[in-house]
């Protein structure tokens, strides 16, 4: 009985969908116990890569002048990312456009892929989002150091600070600078995880209500409509979070280039 109950609890846990599990594994006693495993995280990362490349291959319109509907969609999203980079980093620094564009499409397609039922969202893994944000922060710091050399550290002292306050303010600024690495990743992770958990919990309730009796099932159509609206909200969150991630990355790059 207890075992049965735990099984049910494990099965119905709304957090079960975020588990990284091994699909195919190789554990051989070569090279000091080599462990090669394809996890669902790896599989869906490969899928996201495949989807992005095939979208860009298939919507390239064979370099014709008159675009098809697919290439219109791709061109307009390119134009949006381009204008975002121009506004945030400046038209002189458009060399960061490919980076921001790839980042936008990676996060967007990863989020959208996760919205398909039974699939796995790679952005609900904190290792993915934190790796992205830490890489960005390290890269931005290197960028700032290479442009401004030693003067980069003036970033941590706001202009007009009395000398007595400098040690304290440098600590505070350093903390807020490094907190960016966490906040950027955790924002994406928390938003995606919260949304997917909510949908899982609600759908578990809805399933039980739908399978209760005919009258209850008919009445459940009302909360089901709200649930459908929440799915629409999740789709919007997928777009918004990738946009927010990119716009913040842009502002961090601008900070490193301009130092305030």
């Amino acid at each position: 009985m207890t075992q049965n109950l735990t099984q049910i609890l494990i099965l119905n846990s709304p957090l079960e969908q975020f588990e990284v599990t091994s699909l195919i594994g190789l554990n051989a006693p070569i090279f000091g116990y080599l462990n090669l495993t394809l996890t669902n995280l790896a599989l869906y990362s490969i899928l996201v890569l495949f989807l992005i490349i095939s979208l860009h291959y298939i919507a390239n319109n064979n370099s014709r002048l008159v675009p098809s509907k697919w290439s219109i969609a791709l061109e307009s999203s390119f134009a949006s990312v381009n204008s975002m980079v121009r506004e945030q980093i400046g038209s002189l620094n458009e060399m960061y456009l490919p980076f921001i564009y790839s980042l936008f499409f990676f996060i967007l397609i990863a989020n959208l892929t996760g919205n398909v039922p039974y699939s796995y969202t790679i952005t609900t893994s904190i290792i993915v989002t934190l790796s992205l944000s830490f890489t960005i922060l390290i890269g931005v710091t290197i960028l700032g150091l290479s442009i401004h050399k030693i003067k980069f550290f003036s970033y941590f002292i706001p202009s007009g600070t009395p000398l007595a306050l400098v040690p304290l303010l440098v600590l505070i600024e350093l903390l807020s600078y490094s907190a960016r690495a966490f906040s950027l990743g955790i924002r994406l992770f928390a938003n995606m995880t919260a949304g997917h958990t909510l949908l899982k919990i609600l759908s578990t309730f809805l399933l039980q209500m739908f399978s209760a009796s005919v009258i209850v099932a008919v009445l459940t159509l009302i909360p089901f409509a709200i649930f459908m609206a929440l799915i629409g909200l999740e789709l919007a969150v997928s777009f918004i979070q990738s946009y927010v991630f990119c716009i913040l990355t842009c502002s961090y790059i601008r900070d490193a280039i301009e130092l305030h």
Binding site: Q7, L11, T21, L23, N40, L47, L51, I58, A59, N61, N62, R64, V66, S68, K69, W70, T113, V116, P117, Y118, S119, Y120
Partner: protein
Amino acid sequence: MHASLVRRQLGTLIPPKVATPKSLSGGSGASLTPLVEFYSKLPKGSAPTSASGGIKGRYFEGKNATAAPLAFTMLALFGLGYTIDYHKHHKNHAH
């Protein structure tokens, strides 16, 4: 006033005689041959419709562009996810 001075001042107002009806219609018209040649070589009629086959030609190009591949992708992702979930369930909790 000197005649040449008057002509120079009026020269800004009176255009030079380059194209007269005689020089355009009369004569051989040899100066226009490259122009005529260029236009005679341009393709005539409506633009040819591309008829490239394959998935790309069928679902993505020109007027064939539809959102069907999007639905196919979602269905495929659903199928893959369901398969993985089904097998995971049976592996961990044998009945």
